[in-house]
């Protein structure tokens, strides 16, 4: 099984061509009939897309001597098998039998993705990981210019990964965002998820009796326990798919210097308006914590929160409080 939700289809012509160049060798390589559903699951595309692509094949092929393709110059499929059994059988093939090479950039992109996975010591140590880079390079039409990936040094990462692989419980001290004190949690660790530079542990929390997310940089005093984990990643995925974003978020309006427009894109604003005449830019963004606003203010040149009033006041109080501490230190 390739992807979990094969409900997609490529949108770009280039991606569709890539699919066709792979689909034909795939059909040729099959020992017996393969169903539309199997092919769709294999490629991670929708059944509808795979069926339409199969129906497209007999319209493609070689120009032929006359310039008007004769039957043998075109691909052909067993229509009967497709209609009655939803099976894919290629009955005439032309020109290609093998999968194409990767472009240098395609190879570079997937090698770079692999390097990110290799930040996980368990993956990096696997034989598959080590064999893949060389194979991908040899699969490319040119020398891949692969972006480098810095090492990941997160305390506790390796221990958590071992616990996940061994399906064992762990215990740690954790201070939730906004909580005054840390609590001891015992959890079934299920998966480490990274988004850009922030890493989270998804786990079943025995204290809360629910699936919870923990920031890795807030986990302290991690211990590996002997007790086996009671829950698995499949249950987790089921729980996540029923999850809807919580309330408690606010829409704030921030004015900023248009020179920083590329910077604010990273915060995924709802709207951005730039008045070229006055040189003023404004954006709105939905935030669930004021910490996001602080980070934005720290990073984006000329950023000022203009509303709502309670967020403006909170920012003012916060900056005044921080400054008083630096003043005290100096004086």
């Amino acid at each position: 099984m390739a992807d979990r939700a094969p409900d997609r289809e490529p949108r770009l012509a280039l991606d569709k061509v890539a699919f066709l160049t792979a689909f034909v060798p795939y059909l040729i390589a099959q020992d017996g009939p393969v169903t539309v559903a199997e092919a769709a699951a294999h490629f991670g595309y929708s059944e509808d897309f795979v069926r339409r692509s199969a129906e497209q094949l007999p319209m493609m092929g070689l120009p032929g001597e006359s310039g008007y393709g004769l039957a043998n110059d075109l691909f052909d499929i067993d229509y009967d098998a497709l209609e009655r059994f939803d099976e894919l059988v290629l009955t005439n093939r032309v020109a290609i039998d093998d999968v194409p090479r990767l472009s240098a950039r395609e190879a570079a992109a997937i090698i770079a993705g692999l390097e990110i996975l290799g930040q996980d010591p368990l993956i990096a140590a696997s034989a598959d990981f080590r064999s893949l880079r060389g194979k991908l390079r040899s699969s490319a039409a040119g020398e891949p210019e692969t972006p480098a990936v810095g090492a990941l040094e997160i305390p506790g990462f390796a221990e958590l990964r071992s616990a996940i692989a061994a399906r064992r419980q762990v215990r740690f001290r954790y201070r939730s965002s906004g909580a005054a004190t840390a609590e001891t949690r015992t959890v079934d660790p299920l998966r480490i998820e990274g988004i850009d530079a922030s890493y989270h542990l998804r786990a079943w929390c025995h204290l809360r009796q629910a699936f919870r997310i923990f920031r890795l940089d807030r986990i302290d005093a991690l211990e590996l326990l002997d007790s086996p984990a009671a829950h698995d990643a499949a249950e987790l995925d089921e729980a996540i798919s029923g999850f809807t974003p919580g309330e408690g978020s606010t829409t704030v309006t921030v004015r900023f210097d248009p020179v920083g427009v590329e910077l604010v894109e990273g915060y995924r604003p709802e709207t951005i308006e730039i008045d070229r005449a006055t040189g003023v830019a404004e954006m709105t963004l939905v935030v669930s914590a004021v910490a996001v606003v602080r980070r934005l203010l720290a990073e984006v040149p000329g950023a000022v929160v203009v509303g709502p009033a309670e967020v403006v006041a909170a920012i003012r109080d916060w900056s005044a409080d921080a400054l008083s501490r630096y003043a005290a230190q100096r004086g």
């Binding site: 992807d3 090698i111 993705g113 692999l114 039409a141 210019e145 998966r191 990643a233 920083g260 006041a313």
Partner: protein, 327 residues
């Protein structure tokens, strides 16, 4: 006018025709015979013919983007006459070499690798690579489930810089140095890209070969790819750049007093190279002064920076600006 065949059919037909032809096809043969062109070629004159010509040029580019090499052979009796140039795709350059095979476990890992990138060309290209390799028909093993990293940082500068590095071309862009109000124009040879602590970095050389590292986040204009050839990268440019960054970081030391049990304490203490000098007094290293100051501003007031003074000054200046503008 008959309805036009979809672009992917025309492109696929072009691939098939050029692979199958032993001696290659001239442009006019292609336009007259390959399905997707021939229907538009019949009776086309003037503007329509020019459009078709441009279509053929774009299609050749598209095939190159897919990694397909198109060879051109001049007519020996009429060299230089591009009307008689023959195009072909050499089969050995098109096909994946026979001796390359992937195991089910490798394909499972590739399936995961292709979903790491959430944005831009890296995402599209890694998925395309996976689609092609899935054509080998090897069923993937159960995927590795313990780690799922996603990189969604969207940098508009990334795609043009990748293209420029590949083309070995000098680039120009406006760069907004942290803490400065106006960007300055830079003209550099792009050498390599690196993802470091969640940020994209460009390793580039100035005209005299001096290496500089730029944060893509701070490139605030479009990246212009010039026609000037770039300085060639050293073989391990990225590794060297990452090593330079590590050495630089080790030399940048701050002493910070944190509030016990605060978020600032936990997070600063979790940086891999932080030292606890005494309870709540940390020695912390950073790579980029301005960025580190930004991070610390966001962690106020729970992280009081004692030194160095330039870091304190930046934090205080930014806090003062914020206080004034929110007064």
């Amino acid at each position: 006018m008959a309805s036009e065949a979809p672009a992917e059919e025309r492109l696929f037909n072009l691939i098939l025709a050029l692979v199958a032809s032993r001696n290659g096809l001239t442009k006019s043969e292609i336009l007259q015979t390959v399905s997707g062109y021939r229907d538009r070629f019949a009776g086309a004159r003037g503007k329509a013919l020019e459009n078709l010509d441009r279509q053929f040029e774009r299609d050749k580019e598209a095939l190159r983007d897919l990694g397909i090499r198109i060879d051109t052979v001049d007519d020996p009796g009429d060299p230089g006459n591009n009307q008689r140039t023959r195009y072909r795709i050499p089969r050995e350059a098109y096909e994946l070499p026979d001796d390359i095979a992937f195991t089910p476990a490798e394909l499972a890992l590739l399936g995961l690798a292709a979903t790491v990138w959430q944005e831009g060309s890296l995402s599209a290209e890694s998925r395309r690579a996976l689609t092609k390799l899935r054509g080998l028909g090897v069923a993937a093993a159960e995927p590795v489930v313990g780690f799922r990293p996603l990189v969604r940082v969207a940098e508009p500068a990334l795609d043009p810089l990748r293209a420029a590095i590949e083309a070995r071309a000098v680039v120009e862009f406006d760069y907004l140095k942290a803490g400065e109000a106006t960007p300055t124009r830079r003209r550099v040879s792009p050498l390599a890209l690196a993802l470091h602590e969640g940020r994209w970095l460009l390793v580039a050389a100035e005209a005299d070969g001096y290496r500089l590292t730029y944060l893509l986040r701070r490139i605030v204009s479009k990246v212009a790819i010039t026609r000037s050839p770039a300085i060639a990268p050293e073989p391990d440019e990225e590794t060297q750049a990452l090593a330079r960054l590590a050495a630089f970081r080790a030399g940048n030391t701050a002493r910070i007093r944190v509030v016990a049990g605060s978020d600032a304490e936990t997070r600063l203490q979790h940086r891999s190279d932080t030292r606890v000098l005494e309870p709540q007094l940390l020695e912390v290293h950073w790579t980029d002064l301005a960025l580190f100051a930004d991070e610390l501003v966001a962690l106020q007031p729970e992280a009081l920076v004692l030194e160095p003074p330039e870091l304190v000054a930046r934090i205080v200046r930014r806090l003062e600006e914020i206080e004034v503008t929110h007064g």
